[in-house]
Structure formats: C-alpha cells, structure tokens
C-alpha cells in the first residue's frame, strides 16, 4: 500500500487506536486536513483556540488513561498549544501533539508562520521529534506514542514540515507493532530487596502515614492501593492530583494534605514516624517548609521516575518502579508474612488523629444568607451522586472542588495541579465528555478562569457536549484576593473583576442554557433543574459570598503544623506541636 505522508500520518493514528484528534487547521497542515477529510476512522474535533485543543486532549487522557492527540499548524498554532503542553508535562499526562512546520527547504529563513517548535517546546515535553524523512514518519509516530505512554508519562511533540505530507509523494506504508529504543528503557519493576525493607519498616511503625499522589491514578493502581491501605489499617492522605485513588468517604482517609489540606492530614504528616509516599513527588504545595517536613519520619518513596526520588526530600528507602507492581508485591508480602501491624500503637495513633479530626476543619458558615461556594460543591456532589467527572480551573473554586466534592473513584477529578493553568476546565471537560458521552461532566470554575477559554462554548455547541459549568462567581480573582487579604493588608491590586458579561445571555448566545443563582434558598432546586437537562450544556452563574476564603491554609514556606483554620471549625485539641499563626 502506497500512501502520501499526510495519509500515513492519519493512518498511523488510526492504527494506534486514536479515536479523537483535537485540532485547528492552518497552512502547514492542510495536506493532513485533506487526508482527514477523506476518512472516518479518526474523528477530528475542531476547537476555537489551539490551547483548548491541548487541554481537551489532556482531559480525555486523564479520564480514560489513553493518550490525548492534538494537531495544530505551525507558528501561532504551535505557540498557542504550548500552555497546554506545559500543563500536561507538569502533571505527567500522556499526549501526542503534532505541529505543522514550514517546508524543510525554508526552515530557518523566518518563513511565514515559522517558529522553532522543537526548540520552544523542548523544556516542557518528555521528548520531541522533527520529521526529516517521510519514510521515518510512521516509525516516529509509533515512537512518540511509546515514549508518551510508558514510564512516567508525558507529552511528546512531533514537528512535521509541510513537504513531509506532500500528496504527490507516495511511499509504502507500514506501521510498526512495537518499537524499541536503546536510549529509552523505563524501569518498571521495583527492587525486591527494597520492597522487603519497606514492608519491614512499615510494620514496625507506631505512627504510620500513607501519602499517595497522581502516580496512583496514572499508574492505574487504585485497587492495589485500596488493598494495601485496608490491610494495614493505616491513615492515608492524598495530594491534589491523587484524589479519588482512594475513596474519600473511607474512614482511613484523612483527605487532602498540603497548603489547603485538612488539619488531620497535615498534623498526621507532621507527627508520623514512618511515611510512605506512593506516586507522589513532594511538591512544594505539599511539603511546605522542607526543613520541617515530617521531622520524625523515616520515609519510603515509590516512584517510576528516579529523578523524583530525593529531589526535594531525602528518603530512606527509595523504590523505583511502577506503583501497581510494587504495591502488588508489597500486598503479597503483607498477606503471606507473619508479622502484623503494631495494634496497640496504632490504636493510640488513631486516637490522636481523631482528636485532630474533631476540629472539623472543613466546616463553614451554613446559616449565611449568601451562597457559600463550599455548599454549592456539596450540592453538586449530592445531585450527581458523587459519580460525575469534575474538571476545574485554577483558584479558590479548584480547592473547594477538591475539598468538598468527595471523589470516590480515580480519573474523576481533572485539574491542572502542577502548572495551575486557568482556562483548563472547560476544554478539559470537552475531552472527558467526548470520551464518555453518557457521563455527567461538570466544570467547576470561577468568573475569572472561565473567561480564559470561554470561546469553547462554541465547540461544545458544534459537538453537542452537555457539560455543566459551575461558575462560582465572586467578582474577584478569589485566590489572588485571599493572598492579598492575608499578606498584603487587603490591597486588592487588580483582583476585582469588573465589567463581567451577563453569563446567562452569553451562554444563550452560544445556544446553551444559562441559569443565574443568587439566593442560597434557590441553589439546590436550580442545580437540580439544570443537571436534569441531560442533553444541554448548562452554565450555572452562581453568585457567591465575595469574602469567603479557602481553609485550612498553610502559608507558602511554613510547616505542616502552622495552619490558618476556618473560624467555623470545632474545638482545637491541646497538642504540643500546634503553633497556629
């Protein structure tokens, strides 16, 4: 079979099993768009801005575990995609991004719509390729998928000069079943000796703590994690990226940790004597002050990426490997070994933890005559039975969604944790809704974030995506305002949103449903009414209390036991570690 480069590219995507290609056409990729037009296997989703193409592919990848695929043109097409590529890179999301490039002969001549896409994306991709020989195109695509999806996943860019897709040049097509690369052989199997040592240390713990992250979700290891945690009976906390990997409602779950983590999770981190980090990378939003991070703990760290180990926190037992495999081996040792966890010490530890829990740190003012954003999220949980896919943008609403939705399953919580990209939520929700047309997909956002990719309401109309947009509208860039309140003596520099559009009319102008909710008494009924419209996109413009802050909060650079707590929580226990500022 002889095909042109453009046909090879499209056929390779089909043979790779790609369902959706998120993209936007332009001069350098017209041959490819022509090849797309002449087939039905790979469905092209036309976004309204290339950033949205990358976020949509990213959302698709996070929800399904399959790589997201993007096609954009050269120059501005590639540069617009960079934010989404960097977003995926920071959260280790498998993605293949094909960027058009000017013809090989004019590369370097400052041609129309030319940028050095390989150079620009280099620091924010797992790897990138420039195709210089059309006979290597299919193999390069295979390599890109292989690199993107194995080891620690990440985005891979393939830059394709226009002459590589010339319809006049036909060559034989063969898509390889697999590729090997001498320079890339990710370690997947954990070292058995290290695993044994880790299990021994865990069983000797008096005040153990389990800290799991996005690696458990990416590594599809929730089941193994569940078995592990329940067998040991130890407390577990998750990072922002790891929510849902262990059910939020389970008694052993202390909730999220870190800057906006629960009091009990952070205090247990501070007080534990053995910590096991599972697919988590000790991000600065999690650790707070490095020098006072888990001061009494011996630390075990499971991660597939050797460079994550001892990067910021020096660990005692590093285990490089695939989280699911390592946990399986640990579970086997635990189930077949004679040794049991230290029951008495553990009971004491739980007693202490439960006293921290009694602070009820997530409580908020439930009698307010204004809509509390936390309440809105709780209602979304209730109405969706806790079974929705929730995407979010970045800011206060993101934290409230993380804190109050209560994720029971992995891959349901889709947010930009590492890069913190505003504008992520709506396009990510499109990717999720396309993957699961029957599922309830909600985008929790704010009136600031939503405006960063609002143009995608048009894409949602074109493809009939019935996303529910929960815009917590506080007329502020809320997280910026919160920091300005705490650290800049209420000088709200450029954090107030003036001249907001009428979101209801805006949604309607795009052919969707808009619902504005101002009174807490209407909140539940209106949300129910909107969620009942299964086949419509509904934009909920929810006018919330402008002064609400995200609690608990650890200031950047402070330790886990130095938290600001909400004024609405319960009694604080007496604790020698406690130094509330």
């Amino acid at each position: 079979m002889e095909l042109s480069g453009a046909e090879i590219l499209v056929r390779s995507l089909k043979d790779e099993g790609v369902e959706f290609l998120f993209g936007y056409p332009g001069g350098s990729v017209l041959h490819i768009y022509d090849a797309l037009y002449r087939q039905d296997d790979v469905k092209h989703i036309l976004v309204r801005h290339e950033q949205a193409a990358t976020h949509a592919a990213d959302g698709y990848a996070r929800a399904t575990g399959k790589p997201g695929v993007v096609l954009v043109t050269s120059g501005p097409g590639a540069t617009n995609a960079v934010t989404g590529i960097a977003t995926a890179y920071m959260d280790s999301i498998p993605m293949v991004v094909i960027t058009g490039q000017v013809p090989s002969a004019v590369i370097g001549s400052d041609a129309f719509q030319e940028v050095d896409a390989v150079g620009i994306t280099r620091p924010c991709v797992k790897h990138n390729f420039l195709v210089k020989d059309v006979t290597k195109l299919a193999e390069t695509i295979k390599k890109a998928f292989y690199v993107a999806t194995t080891g620690r996943p990440g985005p891979v860019v393939i830059d394709v000069p226009k002459d590589m897709t010339d319809p006049a040049i036909k060559i034989p097509y063969h898509y390889p079943d697999k590729v090997t690369m001498r320079s890339y052989q990710p370690t997947v199997k954990g070292h058995s000796g290290q695993i044994k040592r880790a299990v021994d240390l865990l069983l000797n713990a008096k005040k153990p703590m389990i800290y799991s992250g996005g690696g458990v979700v990416l590594g599809n290891a929730s089941e193994e994690l569940g078995t592990f945690v329940r067998h040991l009976g130890y407390p577990i906390t998750q990072t922002l990226m790891g929510l849902g990997a262990y059910p939020a409602s389970d008694k052993q779950n202390l909730g999220m940790l870190g800057m906006h983590g629960t009091y009990e999770a952070n205090m247990a981190m501070h007080g534990c004597d053995v910590l096991i980090a599972i697919g988590a990378r000790f991000d600065d939003r999690v650790t707070g002050k490095i020098a006072e991070f888990c001061p009494e703990a011996q630390i075990i760290h499971i991660d597939i990426d050797p460079s994550s180990i001892s990067k910021t926190i020096t660990v005692d037992i590093p285990i490089v490997g695939d989280v699911a495999g390592v946990l399986q081996e640990m579970n086997h040792l635990l189930q077949t070994g004679k040794k049991e966890p230290k029951k008495k010490a553990l009971a004491e530890w739980w007693k202490t933890i439960n006293s921290w829990r009694a602070t009820n740190c997530m409580n908020f003012d439930r009698s307010s005559d204004q809509i509390k954003p936390q309440h809105a999220i709780e209602l979304v949980h209730e109405i969706t039975g806790g079974d929705a896919y929730i995407t979010s943008d970045v800011g206060q609403h993101q934290m409230w969604a993380a804190q109050y939705y209560g994720f029971e399953k992995p891959n349901r919580w889709i947010n930009s944790g590492g890069l913190g990209t505003m504008g992520f939520g709506l396009p990510a929700a499109m990717g999720v809704q396309l993957a699961y047309p029957e599922a309830t997909v909600a985008c929790v956002t704010g009136e600031g974030s939503i405006q960063m990719c609002i143009q995608e309401l048009s894409t949602c109309l074109q493809y009939g995506l019935p996303i529910k947009i929960i815009a917590l509208n506080n007329r502020y860039l809320g997280m910026v305002r919160q920091w300005q309140e705490f650290f800049y003596e209420n000088r709200y520099s450029s954090s107030y949103m003036e001249s907001l559009p009428d979101f209801v009319k805006l949604a309607e102008s795009y052919g969707h449903v808009g619902i504005r909710i101002e009174d807490p008494k209407d909140l539940k009924a209106e949300l129910e009414r909107g969620f009942a419209m299964k086949d419509r996109l509904v934009f909920f413009d929810i006018v919330t209390d402008q002064t609400e802050n995200v609690y608990p909060m650890i200031r950047a650079g402070m330790a886990h036991n130095e938290m600001h707590l909400s004024p609405h929580g319960g009694e604080l226990p007496q604790d020698p570690h406690r130094e509330l500022s």
């Binding site: 150079g119 420039l130 690369m181 460079s307 001892s310």
Partner: protein, 164 residues
C-alpha cells in the same frame, strides 16, 4: 564538589541543546562541555564538568539519564579516571631570548610548538586542567596573544568503560 560526567548520546540534531537546555532550565553549573561523535557515528560522547553538592549532582545525573536521547551515563568522579584537556596557545616570541625561554618552558611542560612565525610561537599542550593552568602561569613574563582550550575529556581507568 567537581564532577566529570560522561554521556553517550544519540548523534542527532538537537541532542546538544537538550543537554545545554537542561542545565540552564534547572540552574545547574556547567564548567565545560565537550562533544564529538564516537567510533560509532550514531553516537556522540559528551564530557561535562560540573560543580555541585552530592544532592545536586545526583539530580543532574538523574535528569540527564531521563533525557530520551541519552543512551548511557557515567560519573567518572566516582572511580579512578583520567582527564585531559588540550590547549592551543599563541605566544609572542620575537627576540632570541623570548624564543629560547618559550621553547624551554614548552619542553618542560611537554608541549609541542606547532606553528612558528618570526614573532610568534603556537604551542599545543595536553594535560589535566591544572597542568594547563600551570603552564599559563609559567608564561607570566611573556605576552600571551591568545589561548584556546578544548574543555575536559575523560575516561575511566582500567577495564571500566562507557559503551552500549
């Protein structure tokens, strides 16, 4: 501490910039970097001299290993090794006295005079960085017109090797 890291890397366009970009993006020190193809033209050998605490150097080696184009890596400083640097140095040698003294110093340091004009000598000198520094110091009374240093190349002693 100073470390010499040897890398075998795919000999492809952009491979060097991946390494250089990594050092600048993560704010690592780079003292010298040399690169050239090996006997296998698909592979390049790179020697990087860097300075940092053990923790930073550990991160540097891990991050380098993570680059998809890096095939193999060895921190030469972890074992016995040999390092060499080559310098070309052009020195003013116009008078008989100057010519004799420069020739004598070059001989002491086992340099080779590889270009001679009525007013200059160009000397090729190979050795450790320290030896090269010493030679420059020894020439203090002479007028150095220009120097070119290759940067350090290193290899492990004995049977140990860096190969695919």
């Amino acid at each position: 501490m100073r470390h010499i890291i040897s890398i075998l890397i795919e000999n492809e366009a952009g491979a060097l910039s991946r390494v250089a970009g990594l050092f600048s993006a993560r704010a690592y020190n780079i003292e010298s970097l040399t690169v050239a193809p090996t006997e296998d033209p698909t592979l390049s050998r790179m020697t990087i001299v860097t300075e940092g605490t053990d923790r930073i150097v550990e991160q540097i080696t891990k991050q380098l290993n993570k680059l998809i184009d890096v095939v193999k890596l060895l921190d030469l400083s972890e074992g016995p090794h040999i390092e060499r640097e080559m310098m070309l140095i052009k020195v003013k040698a116009a008078t008989m006295a100057q010519r004799e003294d420069v020739k004598r110093l070059s001989d002491i340091f086992r340099g080779n005079i590889i270009d001679v004009t009525p007013t200059t000598f160009t000397i090729e000198l190979t050795g450790s960085g320290q030896k090269i520094d010493s030679f420059i110091e020894a020439l203090a009374e002479h007028k150095i017109i220009e120097t070119v240093r290759s940067g350090v190349s290193g290899i492990a002693r004995g049977e140990k090797s860096l190969q695919v």
